[in-house]
Subunit: 307 residues, 2 copies
Amino acid sequence: MDKPHITLIGMGLIGSSIGHALKRVDLAAHITGYARSAETREKALNIGFVDSIADSLKGAVADADIVFLNVPVGMIAEIVRDMAPSLKPGAIVTDVGSVKKSVMDAVHEHLTENTTFVPAHPIAGTELSGPEAGFAELFDNRWCILTPDSETDKQAVQTISDLWRAMGSDVEIMDADHHDLVLAITSHVPHLIAFNIVGTAADLEAVTQSEVIKYSAGGFRDFTRIAASDPVMWRDVFMNNGEAVLEMLARFSEDLTSLQRAIRWKDGEALEKLFSRTRDIRRSIIEAGQDTDDVNFGRTESPHKTD
Amino acid sequence: MDKPHITLIGMGLIGSSIGHALKRVDLAAHITGYARSAETREKALNIGFVDSIADSLKGAVADADIVFLNVPVGMIAEIVRDMAPSLKPGAIVTDVGSVKKSVMDAVHEHLTENTTFVPAHPIAGTELSGPEAGFAELFDNRWCILTPDSETDKQAVQTISDLWRAMGSDVEIMDADHHDLVLAITSHVPHLIAFNIVGTAADLEAVTQSEVIKYSAGGFRDFTRIAASDPVMWRDVFMNNGEAVLEMLARFSEDLTSLQRAIRWKDGEALEKLFSRTRDIRRSIIEAGQDTDDVNFGRTESPHKTD
């Protein structure tokens, strides 16, 4: 197809980064931006990752060949319902949600015959939010998972795959249920326990909040970084992927209880055994290009060795 | 006192960083290094953060005015017992252990009359280990907590405080039991749950290890960084601060169980409420200079907002 007219619904970190990434490779004939707040729309236009903004959802999608939904998972159904009547025949709708099965069910309920939904999830981000947070390189060398079902139009899947590759991502096709299970352990549960320990620390009486903040370089601060992520987005993740999250959480708690027991009974062998397993996984992640081993001063509690 | 002769026992990340930091400000008349492994001793001499190395513990401390013990807390008692007879009258022994109460008890058992032990804990580090991992800036703007008791010689405490300030740290004096409680929540429990979730992820059948690694940019990889810390050091931390860790862990699990319940019953309000509390603490940590808010590409799962 010729250069498509692309519309961004939602222009926070991901929406704005998509705009920057599309402009970097000049992939769109025109980029229209829409966000609920007029302030965000103005910012988007001033920053320049969209060519124009629309002040209504219907107006935003009327001319779009491709619509990106960059909003919390819990808002997608409502938005699709409201915009569906205004979509062009043949338009492709895609999303960036961290949960896929529930989103697909919600969208199929509302989307009309001659339009296609391609579920997608770029696994990239930062703890920062808003239209100023986006940058063109966010998706470089990160994975974008597409979860089409048997009904999904193959050509539309190809179009969205090509777009993500052009934006710097590697693309993987996966079953939606499996995606939700994989993300539960690689993203959702890690965020949940990060949010949780920051809450636990804030509620202590024996240790003051200022002490927690002052001495956070011991490891705690790394959890606060993760726990600084957008509350609404994360609420929706757990509201929509509860089953997989609870399954993974049960295993996490089981393992933690056995560590608790090892500490209580001073079973140093069991502790060292677990602590030794984890370095290989770290090495593999760096080799896979999914993180760097650059020294971030004071990043974690001092792992000093005897020799 | 004149420039002291300083001896480093243990030359991993912390020991080597102390050597670099002392040389940066030219604080020592002479720096002697000792480590159990000959390879580490050779590396230390070649890198140059020590002026000479000793091939025995006794030889290493014989001329020392100040001895830094940079080894896992589980080794300190044995080392103090072995070196005590060789210490000069008036020598000051200090450590960098992440647990203070058990270390003080162990040391006082072995240390002789005319020498002083000043318990210390620099709250800084990286996930890297070994003599090559050290650098002079590691302690800059980080806190070093000293936990002397009523018996501890005031002049010796002053000497060690001055040394840490000269090495770039801020110094805080704290009761040993309180230190162990504060570090349990700001460092020990965070590391425990990081080690734990990496173990949980490695044991899944439904999700392969290669998938966990491939999609780790969703948040998991940040835990693997923390979980890459030295296994022996961490085993010793949990063997020596079990009581405080179990107390904090109980609160963490309690809170996690209520989150679990909120997810099961789709209580979005409760989830959003907790997720919203945590950003302020993050901001305070950045304001306190204990972390930067630099964007680390793909650092966490995308916190995209609706507008």
